[in-house]
């Protein structure tokens, strides 16, 4: 188990040291929320209805931005090939890396979401569901986005390509995430959506790391 502990500690240290990188997705999220707030016009009620879906889409885009740089750094400095070389099970290393990365981006977005919700006139009873759905959704988005990022890490300008690949895979998480916050905002119980989000997260947690490990091994040889 020592490799797992060492890997987790290393990735937390790197994520913490490279927190300047983690500011980009969060800054992007905050900025776009403000832009939406400005451009939506004065009608509070309309904005409140659309806001949950928008906050979710912005969180999705911000996560995608962060995930793409995630593997690129390890690929370019050669630590990724050392990991592959030693035939270590990638499952652990990938999970550790994504968890450290999520703490610095996804978790921050989730914490900011009530503030963003308030700014976009989301009714008060909708805020807990918005934050709750993001708490379950952003890790799933990170895991799924990581597959696309891992497939394109060996290519120079993989960024846009990773987004094109990940977009359709994000659809279920986006639907149930936005659905949960919209349902709560309109007073209905978001229980069904939360159950689905939990199921999607569980599936992503168990399956995605294998796909990411395989994708990293393949993109190593581009």
């Amino acid at each position: 188990m020592s490799i797992a502990v060492a890997q987790v500690r290393r990735d937390f240290l790197v994520a913490f040291r490279a927190r300047a990188d983690a500011v980009h997705p969060v800054a992007f999220f905050a900025l776009t929320v403000v832009l939406f707030g400005l451009s939506m016009g004065p009608d509070r009620q309309a904005m409140g209805e659309l806001a949950p879906g928008m906050v979710w889409v912005l969180a999705l885009l911000a996560t995608m931005m962060g995930t793409d740089t995630l593997f690129r750094r390890d690929f370019e400095d050669g630590t990724l090939e050392q990991l592959l070389l030693h035939g270590r099970p990638l499952f652990v290393a990938v999970l550790a890396k994504l968890f450290a990365h999520w703490c610095v981006t996804g978790l921050v977005l989730t914490a900011l979401s009530p503030l963003a919700g308030l700014m976009l006139q989301v009714p008060a009873e909708g805020l807990p569901a918005l934050a709750g759905s993001l708490a379950l959704g952003t890790p799933a988005l990170t895991l799924i986005g990581a597959i696309a990022a891992a497939l394109t890490v060996g290519l120079g300008r993989g960024g846009m390509l990773a987004a094109v690949i990940a977009l359709p895979l994000f659809v279920p998480v986006l639907i149930f995430g936005a659905g949960a916050s919209l349902a709560a905002a309109s007073g209905a119980s978001p229980a069904a959506e939360f159950l689905w989000l939990g199921a999607l997260l569980a599936a992503a947690l168990t399956l995605a790391p294998f796909a990411v490990g395989l994708a990293l091994r393949v993109s190593q040889e581009y």
């Binding site: 060492a6 240290l13 490279a18 400095d77 630590t79 050392q82 070389l85 030693h86």
Partner: protein, 201 residues
């Protein structure tokens, strides 16, 4: 199964690698036993790096076979340093020790960083080091590793004379301890009884 102790450290049979149908090299027969040093020479694009990466398991061969004596995996020093710029040389070597499954006590790491001549520079993030120093941080692996087979891809690049002597001494120490080294270089390593593998252009 042959008795593992006298099985060669590395044995390739009819090894061929290519990219998009264009063959880089073929029919490479290579056997490395304890104490061997083989230089891989050849013009640019002859596939020196590809050969090393193929043996390291980072490149799928087109034909032939590669047999690295288990259980240890080979050490691979490539163009990419394999050192995370956010971490210091010390932190990188701690991580590398865990990668090889060795105990990560502090003085082994400190000793390795000092041996490669980094000293205090070994404790600051590698991003702030010069290319030569970062190369030395990568060389720290050669001090701590227990991998019997070394695959070095142009180990002398970006190193001053002292650095190059350091590499030679590390290779000597490794060969005396029963290890083998496959080294891709443009100029001779300058060590006694080095074998030679010429890859056609």
């Amino acid at each position: 199964m042959a008795d593992p102790s006298n099985e060669p450290l590395l044995c390739t049979r009819g090894l061929a690698c290519g990219v998009n149908g264009r063959t880089l090299f073929e029919g490479v027969e290579l056997t490395l036993s304890a104490g061997d040093l083989v230089e891989v020479r050849g013009p640019n694009g002859s596939g020196k790096t590809t050969l090393l990466r193929c043996i390291a398991g980072l490149f799928t061969e087109e034909a032939g076979s590669v047999r690295v004596r288990p259980p240890e995996r080979p050490l691979y020093l490539g163009h990419k340093p394999g050192v995370n710029p956010m971490l210091s040389a010390l932190e990188n070597i701690r991580w590398y020790l865990a990668l090889e499954g060795l105990s990560r006590d502090a003085d082994v790491c400190r000793d390795a960083v000092d041996t490669v001549g980094l000293g205090r520079a070994g404790r600051v993030p590698c991003a702030t080091l010069s290319a030569g120093q970062r190369r030395r941080a990568a060389l720290a692996r050669l001090v701590v590793t227990e991998a019997p087979l070394w695959l070095l891809d142009e180990p002398f690049s970006a190193l001053d004379d002292a650095g190059q002597d350091l590499v030679r001494s590390l290779i000597d120490r490794h060969r005396d301890a029963g290890g083998a080294v496959l080294c891709a270089t443009h100029e001779p390593v300058g060590l006694p009884d080095a074998g030679r593998l010429e890859l056609p252009g």
